[in-house]
């Protein structure tokens, strides 16, 4: 197995990633840094400073952050309860919470469209109860609900994994030493679950930040996010240079926000080292 020749087993793979990861990336970088006449420019990147582009980016960040926060607030108590009930990894209950993750995400968004539409299921129920119809679809709230629904399992699972790993003795020791529930939560459980939180946040924030399908399907073309801008540049305006420039900016945003989250994870690592 350690034979030198075995490293050549990776050759087909290396050719593949050069062809379909490195070169495509270079293509997008190339388009991002050139204008339609193939001259070098930084203008495509600077486009993000234009109101029409930074406003959707800002909106997307706001929505993605809210979505991540809501997912966390919903998932954390759930994971705590599962931990307290000692619900094991193989149990049906955990299965139930993870199952929707594997169902086609567009079909799940379709479900919400059906619920929220003006003549949809929710309004149908309201009418049956003689309550006034509500305007639900094509609002920011509708897009947010769709995001939360789509990405919630991606928060539940890592949180659950992290909480299950915490040793009962550690938690009991805190109670024995007179710590209140709140103190135990903030001083013991939360810090120990940081790796799970970091996983959850990255798994939710990035797709929420860059989505265009959810905002299109539940926002009725009124809620314009950075993903929609980029999609529009490529699929409709056919302005590849500007689209590539904005994609690069988005890439930088994703990387920066991950570095930011990473920072917390590192801190938790050192602290955990201190405890042990």
């Amino acid at each position: 197995m350690k034979s030198k020749s075995s490293r050549y087993l990776a050759m087909p793979y290396i050719i593949w990633i050069v062809g379909f990861i490195v070169i495509p990336l270079l293509t997008i970088v190339y388009y991002g840094f050139t204008d339609p006449n193939h001259a070098f420019t930084l203008g495509n990147l600077a486009e993000i400073l234009v109101w029409e582009n930074y406003r959707p980016l800002y909106r997307a960040m706001l929505l993605a952050a809210s979505c991540t926060a809501i997912c966390f607030l919903l998932a954390f108590p759930l994971a705590m309860i599962l931990r307290e009930h000692k619900v094991g990894r193989g149990s049906i209950i955990v299965f139930i919470f993870i199952l929707p993750m594997w169902m086609n995400s567009l079909l799940r968004i379709l479900a919400w469209q059906t619920l929220l539409e003006r003549k949809g299921v929710i309004n149908g129920m309201l009418t049956a109860l003689h309550l006034p119809e509500q305007h639900l679809i094509n609002t920011t709230a509708a897009v947010l609900i769709g995001m939360v629904y789509d990405f919630l399992p991606f928060m539940i699972l890592p949180l659950y994994n992290a909480l299950m790993k915490i040793d009962d003795n550690t938690v009991n020791a805190a109670y024995d030493l007179g710590a209140s529930f709140w103190q135990t939560l903030t001083k013991i459980i939360l810090p120990l679950s940081v790796p799970g939180i970091v996983s959850g946040v990255t798994m939710v924030f990035v797709p929420a930040l860059t989505t265009f399908a959810i905002s299109n399907m539940l926002g009725g073309g009124k809620i314009y996010l950075i993903g929609n801008v980029i999609e529009q540049e490529f699929m409709q305006d056919s302005d590849w240079n500007q689209g590539s420039g904005l994609s690069l900016v988005l890439m930088i945003f994703v990387i920066v926000s991950m570095l930011f989250v990473n920072h917390f994870d590192d801190k938790s690592d050192t602290r955990r080292g201190g405890i042990m």
Partner: protein
């Protein structure tokens, strides 16, 4: 007090389950509704299922989705497993370089990956179609396969392969009889993960698809923008049930089997 806490937490669990499953249940119920209206029940029917089965576009999309998921998972698993073994034997510098390139598709937002592939295909005059979707899916599946196989490669003992060679096995025999069985758990989970990732993808497919080819995701996206037909609900129900059954078997079949043996 303890009782109330229990009741409260059960209540919370039920609410989350309701939130997660009510929309799916709605789709299932509506797939049997004879009227087109989403607001009122006009009688039980299975017509939408028949219509779905008779609809060439839907069936073609379903077929494409499954074929692409299977092929891309298979190819990614083969390439990825070989690569994991190879990478493990590389010098640390080249190993790190290859691994950081491997991780780019995971790091990037899907939209950027999809666009970069589309631009590349068009720039190199590769016409968009089934094959470009397949290439794209293999590309984003590869890191998942490598991630699942890599730990197994690291754990696997280095001596067994050599021992097999010493005992007269050819390298190929040694690979299939000794090395592969050790990696198998990682390989299967890599394949399963790649398969599901491919089934679920919309964004990358959206950018790399060509004339007349749809997967379930892109079909839903274009249908929804036109107006939803109840056949879509029938389709959702079928997909949900399939996912449910496959995951149930994947998760619990081994346990049931072992329990019965005891």
């Amino acid at each position: 007090m303890e009782k109330m806490k229990k009741a409260l937490s059960n209540c919370y669990l039920s609410l989350i389950v309701l939130f997660m499953y009510a929309p799916i249940a709605t789709l299932v119920v509506l797939s049997f509704n004879s009227g087109r209206s989403r607001a009122k029940w006009s009688g039980f029917t299975t017509d939408w299922y028949l219509e779905m089965l008779a609809d060439d576009t839907i069936m073609a999309a379903l077929r494409n989705t499954l074929i692409i998921a299977f092929l891309s998972a298979l190819i990614a698993t083969i390439l990825g497993t070989l690569a994991a073994i190879g990478i493990n034997n590389m010098k640390s510098w080249s190993r790190n370089t290859v691994m950081s390139i491997t991780n780019i598709p995971m790091l990037n937002a899907d939209i950027v990956t999809g666009i970069s592939l589309m631009l590349c295909f068009i720039a190199f005059k590769i016409s968009l179609g089934f094959h470009t979707i397949l290439i794209a899916h293999i590309t984003f599946n590869l890191p998942y396969v490598i991630l699942s196989v890599m730990p197994k490669v690291r754990q696997s003992s280095k001596d067994t392969y050599e021992a097999a060679l010493d005992l007269g096995a050819t390298p190929i025999q040694a690979f299939f009889k000794v090395v592969l069985p050790e990696l198998m758990p990682g390989v299967t989970s890599g394949f399963m993960l790649a398969f599901t990732m491919s089934l679920d993808d919309f964004i990358i497919t959206h950018f790399t698809r060509g004339a007349g080819i749809d997967t379930i995701s892109t079909l839903v996206y274009s249908q929804v923008r036109k107006g939803i037909s109840p056949t879509m609900y029938a389709l959702s129900t079928v997909i949900f049930l399939t996912v449910f059954i496959v995951l149930m078997i994947g998760n619990y079949a081994p346990e049931w089997l072992s329990r019965r043996k005891k």
